[in-house]
Amino acid sequence: MIRLFALLLLASAGIGSASAQGLKLPADLVKASLVAEPGAIRAGEPFTIGIRMVIRPHWHVYWRNPGDSGLPPEMAWSLPQGFSAGPIEWPTPSRIPVSHLLNFGFENEVVLLTQVTPSADLAPGRPVTLSGKLSYLVCERECVPGSADLKLSVPVAPEGSSAAPNPQNRALFASARDRLPTPSPWPSRLTRDGERLVVNLDAPGLKPDAINNAAFFPYAETAIEHAAEQRLSVDETGLRLSLSRSTYDDKVPTELPGVLTFDEVTPEGAQSRSYALGQAPPIQPAASVTAEATPVPAPQAAEPDLTLWSAAGLAFLGGIILNLMPCVFPVLSIKVLSLVRHSGEPPARVRLHGLAYTLGVLAMFLGLASVLIALKGAGAAIGWGYQLQSPLVVASLAYLLFAMGLSLSGVFHLGGGVAGIGDGLTRKPGLQGSFFTGVLATVVATPCTAPFMGSTVGFALTQPAGVALIVFASLGLGLALPFLVLTTWPAAVRRLPRPGAWMDTLKGAFAFPLYATVAWLIWVLAQQVGSTGLLAALVGLVLVGFAAWTWDKAQHAAPVGSIVGRGVAVAALVALAVLTVGLDRDRAEANVTMAAGSEAFTQNRLDTLLAQGKPVFVNMTAAWCITCQINERTALRTDAVQTALKTRGVTYLKGDWTNQNPEITRLLEQHGRNGVPLYLLYAGGKAPVVLPQILTQGAVLAALDTLPASERSAALKATPKR
């Protein structure tokens, strides 16, 4: 039981990190959040809010003047009526060299402070929500544009009380303020020295040999050569920093506001100084502030009649069908078998088991959906089935199903009983046994949900979170329904055959659909990792088998042998975990196996073809999508279809979504989908025809028949008729 739970954790941990593995998604590179300084706010009383960005090591975001390249972050606030937000107070940046160029920005973490003034007639009691869209560019050597919808609920202080700072955030705000430049205690001037500009700080108190590492950061973006050497000289009259004037600006500036930093050796040790010289001009928003950083056209639902309730209905039906999937059916059957055993229990108790199971299913589905919604909200370009885009998750699922198969085959037993894992759960007298069967059923069902539930789940994910959760809940209810029915009407249970020896035979037989699913998962994995990774995964299977066998031996051994056996089994599992984590480092390059007559999909290629007025057939597929594979075999790769494509001059573009591909995700979203398969037929400059998810050769041919017979007739059409 504990081990099973650990395996489940392993699987769900893999799901959580699916997008973090080897992929450069803005949400993985920058974790953005809002932090308010006071614990509660008051009407008309300004307070400080921090936009906190935690940045992946070696990556950086930009200062208001980004230097030779880059873009500063921008915040588009959506505040309640009567609220207003001030400009960002920019902390002192760092010099970040890239080759011979130089950027000004922030690494690791930055908090951008902003003053917010609440409306004067803010009623106490109800909390208010402050939200906004943060757009940013994050770069290492490569650059990734990102955006995040940030939200923060702030309590409103009751009348008479003061808006005291929230002690939890004190350190954060203190360090953010420490990083702000302070007004210079000395006057400053700008002078010219040929083609150089000299920043003069009239600071007679500075000791020449105590000042080093001086740097000047101008607010103006084209005033100086950012990467050029800045020459420091200090004497008894003050500090001078000579800068190379930029060739971008014809005009020689008469003043140069900016931030001057230097280190000063004092008796107390080295101190970093940062002074704001002159007035900072307001920053011009670079662009349409409200627009998204990565343009995603408004989803045009492929099925416009797919309303919330029909989507929920479809999801419910889909859930029921899931019960028959090769990955789910064995688990469910074992559960039903255990019911047979329960049939001696009072009906009320059996009903409780049914409810616990349903709860388990719902909890896991809603959990998965929340992770997905959260990732999407953070700007990740992912869709349903995303779990299977991580080799970690695919391998973990393969191990889990293999272990369950082994237990059904009788290789090992839990708790010394006659039953295996699935039964081990249900034998648990407590209701949590039923709850975890629900969780387990959902986990093992995920490989099947992605391919079969594409359009409903796709619809759900383009909707607000609440709607999405309703659809996912319906899917879960559908999955739970057969079992719920059986438990609610105990009469139905009594109809089931009496327990007997046939149960062991059935269990043994049920192991094989599980092994088949394992074989399929390993095949999927083979598309995702290199040959070393594949070997690691296969060795992993051996380790699962070894752990199962030693565990079983330990159960029946004398106390000492038992401890040794269990130790060896645990060691095998640890080795398995290490091996699995290593899998991800051996990611295969996107190796779409292109059948003859097809080309790899890129948005560019599609745009080019469409611009040339050529008809295009787009097939979005993934190795782990069974429907896709079946469709290809039976309806797309057939001679009749291939010939029809050729004679009509249709270019066949194939997009592989086995691994993450934001371009494909975007196209899926444009058609209201969040998963594969998706089949599109573009012709005649019109919106593409969306073909059904389950294809037949006839349907494809019928769609192709609507096209003109050849380019020749297209050319004829183009000639003006007289």
Binding site: D68, S69, S99, E142, Y248, S288, E292, T608
Partner: protein, 206 residues
């Protein structure tokens, strides 16, 4: 002996740093554009001197840079290339990414990208050593230069006035290169001669 070694060292250092120091100033507007000679994706040698009498556009690119993707994804760059090469302008797309860096491509891939994107540059120059890039002090992709038939640099800087990677901004952007080329074609003085180039930094060899 020691003196001689250190003198040699100093001389070598000076030799190495001198050209960089000379280039740091970059090309001057309304002065002669730096000459160059490079191999294009078809293996031909291309020199600026070959194009005397023709207006030349230099476009620095890196196909994986989000800002470049905006220009090509929105068909803006292709449109500009088509419009002006048809009008007799020579359009040289320059890739200064060092081998292994983002945007570095083989000659075959460069031609494939041109075809896939429906681009129509006159040539794609593979400046793997960054020589042309540094001669022009090119910093970002996409960064643009316009050189007249007399070899005078009349525009350097950004492609347009919307320094974002957002496709929607193409609609409202003022394209500096289009404006400069229109003015050159009409034998007028270029009104906006410089702007701050925006985008990804060019991935020169570090």
């Amino acid at each position: 002996m020691l003196l001689r070694t250190s003198l040699t060292f100093a001389f070598a250092t000076a030799l190495l740093t001198l050209p960089i120091a000379a280039h740091a100033a970059g090309p001057q507007i309304d002065k002669s554009a730096p000459t160059f000679s490079a191999t294009d994706a078809d293996g031909k040698t291309v020199s600026l001197g070959d194009y005397r009498g023709k207006t030349v556009v230099l476009e620095w690119t890196n196909h994986d840079c989000p800002f470049v993707k905006k220009m090509y994804g929105g068909q803006a760059m292709q449109g500009l290339q088509k419009k002006w090469t048809e009008a007799g302008v020579v359009w040289l797309t320059v890739i200064s990414s060092a081998p292994g860096e983002q945007g570095a491509v083989s000659p075959q891939d460069a031609n494939r990208l041109t075809q896939e994107r429906g681009a129509s540059p006159s040539s794609v120059l593979l400046d793997t050593a960054g020589t042309i890039g540094k001669a022009y002090d090119a910093r970002t992709t996409p960064q643009m230069f316009v050189i007249t038939g007399e070899g005078t640099l009349v525009y350097q800087g950004a492609i347009d006035d919307k320094p974002t990677a957002n496709l929607d901004d193409l609609k409202t952007a003022k394209n500096y290169v289009d404006a400069a080329l229109t003015e050159v074609a009409a034998s007028k003085a270029v009104s906006v001669k410089t702007s701050k180039p925006y985008g990804c930094s060019i991935k020169y060899a570090s």
